[in-house]
Symmetry: D2
């Protein structure tokens, strides 16, 4: 079943909020999302920062101990202009380089998003970049499920439940997995970026309102600790923490667990394989918790004699 | 001019050592290197750990304040078998996961390297991986120039002068740039890996002796702070430090400097461009100093109106 | 006015919960608290982990933008036996030392608390320590006010609102300051330790149920970012974050702000003074967020010609 | 035997340099040291930065695997004026606070050192501090022995061999222990501070030339990994690394080793004791490697039934 959902309220935390919509395992939702600053498809500010969430969606049958699979089918920017900050974040450069950065209060970058041409083009400010155009790569910046212990966690950050991971691999065609802590999972999403470099190092992607289509699936009894995902080429795990070192530890540990539990490897096989075949990506290095992604190519997994998919 | 050089001594530090060979700007060298454990092409241990260096090469005309460009033309494994550690390093997993790792003392992995087939195949130990074969990707694990202040720095680690960066992007076809601190630069190299995943998370790549061909070029007066590089597709900078956060800060700062100095961008243009177009890679997250690589695609740079190369 | 309060429910988050008691500015409360494991004065488990909170207390007149001052007047262990973990935490030792630690599952330490003798004595397990006795130093491990954005944050961790700081300086005679984000502040407390070394490096202090007496005061319009405190000898600020480096940055920045706002110092005076007179303590290096405390002696502040207290 | 030594050359690395003086086990040395900037007792610049070392001293009988004990008997500032930087270091405050710091290039603080009055007094610049006087606490900022592998390590930083630890506990009356890697140990020292707050957070203590008296003792076969020390009240270990977390791990691990090897404790006894009785200090949080000190009070150790000193 396909649901079309337009929120009339938004949340700045991911938590155990009253469900906005009850859906079933296997259902598809098309939902409108405002941008990180709370501006809708008409650039009207309809709610407050940070990263207002659409939802939560209550998925029938999802219980603590299950995993919620969310397949992202489409992320369509819903207005012509997106915005970025236009200065590198102070925490991503050497401390003694900060004084040389332009003032972050100096304003924002404005980008025109052309869906037909598949480009984002700098409109302002005027710099030596001119009207540089880059290919679109729409992603979901912030999504996840209600966290454990009844917590309500700011959408500025991320943790085991997902949240503001700002990873530019969360594109259409990707399935994200979240560990369910609350009955119904209580899935929230929003904060689309038309494009974003690795690390979100200026503090934003091209922030834009969006229409997002996704399909949910409850995987009963599959226990995971950190968000996972997969696409056509790779399986991956997300570690969310500061510093980057700890985010990488979480992601690496979660991949080791996955390979041991689902691919029949022992600790030595994991060491031999991950040591020579793993890939890492830096999701964000700006938010209160950073995100590191640990990836294993499916073409490598297909070589395993123990892999019987 | 092409020099063929076979070392008769090796160094476990990169420092202001007596030059092994004097060469000229523009010269090419073909050099034999032992593996990280000091074993040569016959698997004989001819020198001690860690990462014995061939060289140093004194490049005529290189002076402090210059940059040494080293173009890697060929990295050829020079024996049939390479070795790896076979357990994830304790520092790349969650601290409470360490107890579950196999004992690191349990031995090493042995891999057969087939240059014709372009594969590395697990020979032992016997695990669920069976005789898994992965494509070769030969890299230089450790190379660099004599550091400032007359220092002699262990080849286990890395810093501004290069060193044990263990980045799997240092393949044939890549040019590495090092900041010259000593007269003649005093270039050292060694520690080839037939293949290595991101991060060198088991503590090794496939360690192997090698024959390496490279060509040097002195770039007078081009001051850089951290190692840089380029290949057909990208320019990149290397930050070497702990934690990963600081390595990333160094690499990001160095890329910002590069874009401002050589590509005519101001701080706002840098923020707009890097924020949406930068890519990061994790070189190693095992050595005393970690390595993060910050990359900018040449196809993006080609769009800059200020770029007149 | 003095309130005597015995909770009938406890919270595992600090959040915008229904007030347990409404009190006035200047009131004193004597409250019973269970230990970190939810055990009361009879060692009965009456609620679940982690760190069950008594409260919240709604303080009339406290509004966002104010600061809540909580003076700790008494912390009295309310049973004879407290417990500790008995192995160093894996994250406080070198990763390659973890394998050598005893199994953390091996049990807990049991300590007899003697209020008359002012000692805590190891009862079990039997080790070379014998029945070692150490002087008591009762502290509040976890306390704070409802955080911003309507968040509900696990009592396992800490942030701007306070929380599980596990700092052994929060003893009787100390006043703690918290930034108010919710109407009434919503003050929570619990998790007393009869004694704790710096850093809480075994993962616990001597965990014990307690009776705590405190007095609240609302400081209208005094805006602080991080918890602050003072005792007879010192003023201090608390930074809560991972890694330690960031916790220290928060604490140092907060002290700089305090000295500039309330003591009439400019940035150079702050640099000269803090550089030569600051003291740091490590609150905890175990919880998800670590705590670093930055201290300035009152005897130094008394020398300032600008200090007109 | 007492040697009076006045250097005629200085080193900016600690390494395997030609000995300046050969001494015997048990000898005492009185040595002149320049300040961190290379200025002598007449404020003449006689050598270059950073932290010029007097020495090295070759101690007869010291061999790799031994420990060198250096008892600091006297640190006497040898001129009237010392200098400090006068702004907080950029790395010790929040990244978004850096822009608000005064320009670090703005000059230095000048302090008058009065040995009779035991005070350091701000002479310039003129701030709200006026002529603030603080009690002297002379320390050795940088000292250590030649590192392993023939390395020569910049005196800007520190490692297993000691170096620029900038810990304000290295006062007269303290014995420091260093792991010997080179024949004769090759002990270097210098960089006295008349006074320094915890962390050296403005980037300096009160930097001053000095006369230092110390006595050496070789402890045959006592293997240590990190510098250790003791004074009348405490034994302590020093961890030198970035980030602070790793420095703390090194110091904590080294203390655990010490308690197990020399005080007869097993892992559980270590966990019980350190968890409740350990103290930490932050040596420096400014240099390339930070220093964390882990302390155990001698009054606690005296309670151990296994301690037969």
């Amino acid at each position: 079943m396909i649901h079309h959902f337009k929120p009339n309220r938004y949340y700045n935390t991911i938590g155990w909020h009253e469900p906005a919509l009850h859906i079933n395992d296997g259902d598809t939702v098309v939902v409108g999302c405002v941008c990180a600053a709370g501006m809708d498809e008409h650039e009207r500010t309809v709610t407050q920062r940070p990263n207002p969430m659409s939802g939560p969606f209550y998925i029938a049958g999802a219980q603590p101990g299950d995993t919620l699979a969310v397949t992202i089918e489409r992320i369509t920017p819903s207005r012509e202009y997106g915005w970025t900050r236009n200065v590198l974040a102070q925490n991503v450069v050497d401390p003694d380089y900060v004084h040389g950065l332009p003032d972050r209060a100096a304003g924002v970058g404005r980008w025109r998003v052309d869906l037909a041409a598949n480009t984002a083009t700098v409109v302002s400010p005027d710099t030596a970049l001119g009207q540089l155009s880059l290919p679109l790569n729409p992603i979901i910046g912030c999504f996840g499920v209600a966290p454990a212990l009844g917590q309500a966690i700011s959408t500025a950050t991320s943790a085991e439940h997902g949240g503001n991971m700002d990873y530019n691999g969360f594109v259409a065609g990707t399935t994200a997995y979240f560990p369910v802590s609350a009955p119904g999972a209580l899935f929230h999403l929003g904060d689309a970026h038309a494009l974003q470099g690795d690390g979100e190092i200026s503090g934003t992607g091209i922030e834009i309102s969006s229409e997002i289509q996704f399909t949910v699936k409850v995987i009963k009894g599959w226990r995971i600790t950190w968000p996972r995902g997969e696409n056509a080429d790779t399986i991956f795990t997300c570690g969310n923490a500061r510093p980057l070192d700890q985010a990488l530890q979480h992601a690496t540990t979660e991949m080791s667990r996955w390979l041991m539990t689902d691919y029949g490897l022992d600790g030595v096989a994991v060491g031999l394989l991950m040591g020579q075949a793993v890939k890492y990506e830096i999701g964000n290095v700006f938010d209160p918790a950073y995100t590191v992604v640990c990836k294993m190519p499916k073409r490598v997994l297909a070589l395993l004699r123990t892999y019987a998919h």
